[in-house]
């Protein structure tokens, strides 16, 4: 079989798979239905503050497997559904960030910076349109790169990155985050340090759960969901509640909902202005997504930062700054974080290494069902015997294309219809979001301690906001903390206990130099800015 035969077989596997029902004699294949279902669920879940794609995937996976069983036939419907959720949640995730200032996922945090100010100015619908356009464009671009490069690029990247390089790359990500986000390197370092510290409680290699103070409650460590949702969502809810209460005490009135005002449409002229931001961010997100182990949050951050630098050089004086409601800010962020998901499947499909939570669930699905073993063997174009895994891989690409088509056509309408939620008064919405978040966490973790942890992290997130420490480095450090320690241990053991493993491998040494450089550079820039401000 040639390459084209494989692609065609993959397309056919989606369209000619087992049929669910038929409409007027035309069979409707189950995979298509599952992609649709996943897509709509994804938008709804992404748009609901306090919920996110991974939660929906986590709940859906066991159910789907119960329904479809353990045959290779189950792979495309189940993974199609998950891809649908992933794509839907990516555009849906911008909705609560823009409308309520509560990012459902860490990568949507940057979207709040300009999205929410636009909502406050009565430009919510327009902000949503910008988010949708940028997100879908970035996503589609990334998918194209995936389809073209997957077989080559993944093997290439992996070929050059050994364990020491992977460790150095994680360190580079962390120091970049600490230096760049949060305004001050000192506060960035503190936020990062706290995230690492919490990630290390209860974990570790030894049988004694470290830093658990002999308590069973801490022995299992802090579940990822409690830390992320606690600091990002619950912390934001606490801050908003306080502001709302203050407002009421000072004015005696609660602000009503913000009415849409002005032109909400997106004109060709504006789109042309957004295109450079979308383009750059799409390339950045795709490049980052292709590196194993680095997720969309970093992409959003870099996309936003690069966009900001360009914007300050080129914007007209009366246009709002980044962080004050600039559509370009939304475009730069959303294009970057959405373009990660496609490229992220390059290492997932060819090496089995995920870069984000959504990819983790795709791997889990493949792993549980069987018949699809993500690894180098997937992209073997065998000529004599059919390589069924390659057919599945192209089937998945087809599923992604279908989801993109849905995204371009009806995704935007469906996404904006979620705007109805701005009509709900905040003092009603915030407590409801809080209970929904805590319930979702409980359903995953099924122990009351998880709720107490989340409330504790919420308090931490609140305090961090009060003293102007950005919570984002905390979250990223928490996610990467385990990976960092693991890969450092492995690199150390693999090099036979070489204490200088980070510096004796050329690529790793370059990454380390960049890590130090980025911190020094930002610290110097800050000093210059501070002295200018005081002068």
């Amino acid at each position: 079989m040639g390459a084209l035969d494989y692609i065609w077989a993959g397309v056919l596997a989606v369209f000619l798979g087992p049929e669910l029902f038929s409409v007027f004699g035309v069979p409707v294949p189950v995979t298509i239905v599952m992609i649709f279902a996943g897509f709509f669920l994804g938008i709804a879940v992404g748009a609901t503050p306090g919920l996110a794609g991974p939660i929906a995937m986590a709940i859906a996976l066991p159910i789907l497997i119960s329904i479809f069983g353990y045959t290779p036939d189950a792979l495309l419907p189940v993974m199609g559904f998950l891809i649908g959720v992933m794509k839907g949640a990516t555009i849906g995730g911008a909705v609560p960030a823009i409308l309520f200032n509560t990012p459902g996922t860490p990568d949507a945090y940057m979207t709040t910076l300009d999205g929410y100010p636009m909502t406050q100015k009565g430009q919510a619908k327009k902000a949503l349109r910008v988010a949708h356009l940028s997100s879908v464009t970035g996503d589609t671009f990334s998918d194209m790169v995936l389809f073209i490069c997957a077989p080559f690029l993944a093997l290439l990247v992996e070929g050059y990155l050994d364990l020491p390089e992977k460790t150095a790359l994680l360190i580079l990500s962390l120091s970049f985050i600490a230096a760049v986000i949060g305004g001050s390197p000192a506060k960035g370092l503190i936020s990062t340090g706290l995230g690492l510290l919490f990630a290390y409680v209860g974990t570790g290699e030894d049988f004694y759960p470290r830093l658990s103070m002999d308590s069973k409650v801490l022995a299992q460590g802090f579940p990822l969901a409690t830390a992320i949702l606690g600091v990002l969502i619950v912390g934001a809810v606490f801050k908003e509640l306080t502001d709302l209460w203050r407002e009421k005490r000072e004015s005696g009135l609660l602000a009503g909902t913000i009415e849409d005002s002005g032109d909400q449409r997106l004109h060709m002229r504006e789109i042309r202005r957004l295109v450079p931001y979308i383009g750059r961010s799409a390339v950045i997100g795709t490049a980052i997504g292709a590196l194993p182990g680095i997720g969309s949050t970093l992409a959003a951050t870099i996309g936003y930062t690069v966009g900001k630098a360009r914007y300050q050089r080129t914007k007209s004086p009366e246009a709002p700054d980044f962080g004050k409601g600039a559509p370009e800010g939304i475009a730069a962020t959303e294009a970057a974080n959405s373009s990660v998901s496609g490229a992220n499947l390059i290492p997932v499909l060819s090496l089995g290494i995920p870069g984000n939570a959504a990819a983790v669930f795709l791997i889990l699905a493949a792993d549980s069902i069987g018949g699809f073993n993500p690894g180098p063997s997937v992209f073997r174009f065998t000529a004599d015997a059919v390589n069924p895994e390659l057919v599945i891989a192209f089937g998945l690409f087809t599923a992604m294309l279908i989801a993109n088509l849905l995204n371009w056509t009806i995704g935007g309408v469906f996404m904006r219809s979620m705007g109805i939620m701005t009509r709900i008064p905040k003092q009603v919405l915030l407590p409801t979001v809080l209970l929904l978040t805590l319930t979702a966490i409980y359903v995953q973790e099924t122990r009351m301690e998880a709720i107490w942890f989340t409330l504790g992290f919420g308090l931490l997130g609140y305090v961090m906001r009060v003293v102007a420490i950005s919570p984002l480095p905390f979250v990223i450090a928490f996610i990467l903390g385990g990976k960092l320690e693991e890969s450092a241990r492995q690199a150390f053991a693999a090099t036979g206990g070489d204490p200088w493993f980070l510096f004796t491998h050329p690529i790793a040494a370059v990454f380390m130099a960049l890590s130090v450089g980025v911190i020094l550079l930002t610290a110097r820039n800050n000093r210059v800015r501070a002295s200018r401000a005081s002068a």
Binding site: P185, A186, K187, L189, I190, T192, G193, L194, L196, L197, Y200, G204, E205, F207, Y208, R210, L211, F238, L241, T242, L244, W245, R246, K248, L254, V428, L430, P431, T432, L434, L435, L436, L438, T439, A440, Y442, V443, E445, T446, R447, M448, W452, L455, L459, Y462, V466, V467, A468, G481, L484, E485, A488, R489, F492, A493, G496, R527, A530, A533, S534
Partner: protein, 188 residues
């Protein structure tokens, strides 16, 4: 935001002190393996190293705040009135989740007063309507309470919103899925 705020200095001192405490007391006493250790003739990284790195991040951050960013512009000011409000919110949340946790068993104990063979909540945690009792009362208290707190008065409307929201969550999480457990039914 003001130039006179000393919040960066205070913050820096707190974190530097905490980091020293962490590195020299908490970590050594609460991990079983050191920074590095020797197992199977091979030197490996111990459990204390990673948290120590985290501690160094905190220490560095604290020191930079004290030494270089003490006089930085745009330092936030912390308003004690807001913190007071947060304390009240926390008391309410704690009360709500205690009601959620113990509400079900309490209702069962009440019912048992008029029964010959006593029921046990643990064994009823998967049977309606028992399994909803704690979540219903605790959730309603939380939502109704928070709304009332922000609005500055207790209204029937706030309680009704709480009830509707809690019922909606039961419909989303519990009715379609057999395996999902609402709080507190995984703990009892």
């Amino acid at each position: 935001m003001s130039h006179d705020s000393r919040s960066n200095l205070i913050l820096g001192i707190c974190f530097a002190a905490f980091a020293l405490l962490l590195i020299f007391i908490w970590i050594p006493f609460d991990t079983d393996t050191g920074l590095i250790e020797k197992v199977r003739r091979q030197i490996t990284i111990g459990d204390a190293l990673a948290p120590t790195v985290a501690g160094i991040f905190l220490l560095l951050g604290g020191l930079i705040l004290i030494l270089f960013e003490r006089n930085a512009p745009d330092q936030p000011e912390v308003d004690p009135v807001n913190l007071g409000f947060m304390a009240v919110v926390f008391v309410l949340l704690a009360a709500s989740f205690l009601v959620m946790r113990y509400g079900g068993p309490a209702v069962v104990a009440l019912v048992n007063l008029s029964r010959e063979t006593p029921l046990e909540y643990r064994l009823l945690r998967d049977s309606a309507p028992w399994k909803y009792t704690g979540f219903f009362f605790g959730g309603t208290l939380m939502i109704g309470g928070l709304i009332s707190l922000v609005e500055g008065r207790i209204t029937l409307r706030a309680v009704l919103i709480g009830i509707v929201a809690v019922l909606a969550m039961i419909a989303v999480y519990d009715l379609p899925f057999d395996d999902l457990l609402l709080p507190p039914n995984g703990d009892v």
